[in-house]
């Protein structure tokens, strides 16, 4: 195992970066596909249907027990993906070709970029210090996430505009209006967390890893529940998930921004959407649910001591990734759960909720915690 680590650190930094980049693509794309399958299955079960359960490639049909995988629809993932790659990709004659082709790419870039700054695990190094597992450990952490992930809406606007047709255009308009409305509340709801993490006299930090370190005791979600709720609601809006599905709104906008898209270009939008969901869930877990700490008041370092994993960085890393991903995946499920529970809001309701309810709530919440934290941290 040390040989692997040595081999890795011996590589040229550029080569390391390329491998990391490929790893991101190699993880996020299948993840997007898997999520779409899980979405189909969850929706089916909630509606009393079995869901996709037919596809079975004939060359594996002889494997005993494969029927279970078939019933779970695992092979539909391959079928859907294959279809997406090979089907005809129509480009309507009335679109602005350059931007039409650009939009899905613009959608993917922020989705894949933000993953790099989200820590997804941690291990103890030789000095017994927690080290985050993250592709790019930036000091600006959360700022980078907010800054880059918000660029994803450009894809929607671009797609809506380049499609040169009414409904996509309306979808793009809605997406931008919605993003602007909810971005404010989202950012404001996160501020109390960083007010607490940045203790007076300490080093200023916006790093997500430091936020998790600050949650070795109580998780922020426990004593800042309002922040967590505002963040979560804004997250639903930011990721364009129901009940804030304005940009797509198939009942009133046909398909919204992606009406004119087909095949893999359409698929890229959805991989991007699921990537945003995963990143959003991950950031929520890091900020409010203790990241890779298994339970409140039970930090990962203690667990490592109990399980004698302090000298096993790789095993501990895997454990922390498992804990973190488990929590994040629960939120992916929550996204789907809410999607099949709540109907879509009307557009004016979305705007009213964003500006008249969520934003004042976020500001009041910020003021309350600013005063509270100031009082606690300057008491002694």
């Amino acid at each position: 195992m040390t040989a692997v680590i040595e081999l890795w650190s011996g590589l040229h930094p550029l080569l390391q970066a390329v491998i990391k980049g490929l790893a991101v693509i190699g993880v996020m794309f299948p993840f997007g596909g898997a999520c779409s399958l899980i979405e189909r299955k969850v929706s089916a079960w909630m509606q009393g249907r079995p869901g996709p359960n037919r596809a079975l490639p004939f060359w594996v049909a002889w494997v005993p027990g494969i029927g279970l995988l078939q019933r779970l629809g695992v092979f539909h993932l391959m079928a859907d993906g294959g279809k997406m790659f090979f089907k005809e990709d129509p480009v309507p004659g009335h679109v602005n070709k350059f931007y039409f082709y650009l939009a899905p790419v613009v959608g993917m870039i922020p989705a894949l970029t933000t993953v790099t700054v989200v820590p997804f695990g941690a291990y103890l190094n030789e000095a017994g210090k927690m080290v985050p597992l993250v592709l790019a450990n930036l000091d600006v952490g959360i700022l980078a996430v907010f800054a880059v992930s918000s660029l994803g809406v450009y894809a929607l606007i671009l797609a809506g505009w380049a499609s040169n047709s009414k409904y996509p255009f309306l979808g793009g308009i809605r997406a931008s209006a919605q993003l602007i409305s909810y971005e404010l509340s989202m950012t404001l709801s996160v501020l109390p967390v960083f007010l607490w993490v940045n203790v007076p006299g300490g080093n200023g930090t916006l790093s997500l890893f430091d936020v998790v370190s600050a949650q070795n005791g109580a998780w922020f979600g426990l004593w800042m529940p309002l922040s967590a709720i505002v963040f979560l609601v804004a997250l639903f809006a930011e990721t364009n998930r129901l009940p804030f599905d304005m940009a797509e709104g198939e009942a009133d906008l046909v398909g919204g921004f992606h009406t004119e898209y087909g095949a893999m270009k359409w698929g890229l939008f959805f991989v991007a959407e699921y990537s945003h969901m995963l990143i959003g869930s991950g950031v929520f877990v890091l900020l409010f649910l203790g990241g890779w700490n298994p339970l409140p008041w039970v930090p990962l370092a203690d667990v490592a001591v109990w399980l004698h994993l302090t000298t096993q960085p790789i095993l501990l890393g895997l454990l922390s990734i498992g804990i973190f991903l488990g929590k994040a995946l629960f939120f992916i499920f929550l996204f789907m759960w809410v999607r099949w529970t709540v109907p879509r809001f009307r557009y004016d309701q979305v705007m009213k909720l964003g500006w008249q309810k969520l934003l004042p709530l976020a500001i009041a919440n910020l003021l309350f915690y600013a005063l509270l934290i100031a009082w606690i941290q300057t008491r002694n």
């Binding site: 079960w45 009393g48 079995p50 759960w337 809410v338 529970t341 709540v342």
Partner: protein, 178 residues
């Protein structure tokens, strides 16, 4: 009579809205684990109720004899003109010579059939029945025209309460043709 629906003011939990969403999520979660209601069709088939009007078929009597006498009433009554009968003699059927007539060809175009059941209703011989089969598919239009052999294959044998032509034959042998 017109009446006014009373609009109650929303309660606090309804105005906060999140508790309502949680209540809804409880319902969907229970549904998630509830058994499916879907019938997985080609493997599982629905129970066909009695009196179901499926594909029209020709039936034989319990002795395996053809019942149709090609009177062509069904052909005349068929609203979409799906039935085409070519009448023929029954000389090749020694046990039915007293019947005089039988269909030489009997075609039902299932692309025209509307499953109204008038042919069954009009048949004086109880020879044509709309039975339980409800699926049919084919690659060509010609495949969906059921000919006589296909109709008998689909129809099979149904019980007969009258054995009308046996009675007629017995009466004729006793010199009473009416």
């Amino acid at each position: 009579m017109p009446y006014v629906v009373e609009r109650k003011p929303l309660t606090l939990s309804e105005r906060i809205y999140l508790p309502q969403i949680l209540a809804g999520m409880r319902v969907t979660l229970r549904r998630l684990f509830a058994p499916n209601v879907t019938m997985e069709y080609p493997e599982q088939r629905p129970a066909i109720p009695t009196g179901y009007r499926g594909v029209p078929t020709l039936v034989k009597d319990p002795h395996g004899r053809e019942k149709c006498v090609s009177c062509q009433l069904c052909e005349f009554v068929c609203p979409p003109k799906a039935i085409r009968i070519t009448p023929g003699s029954v000389e090749d059927q020694p046990d039915r010579t007293h019947v005089e007539k039988g269909p030489q060809a009997f075609d039902i175009d299932m692309l025209r059939c509307i499953y109204c059941g008038l042919c069954q209703e009009v048949c004086p011989e109880e020879a044509i029945f709309l039975q339980n089969q409800y699926t049919l598919s084919g690659y060509t239009r010609a495949e969906l025209v059921n000919d006589k052999a296909k109709l008998y294959e689909l129809g099979g044998t149904l019980p007969d309460q009258h054995f009308k032509w046996d009675k007629k034959k017995a009466a004729a042998e006793h010199g009473n043709t009416h």
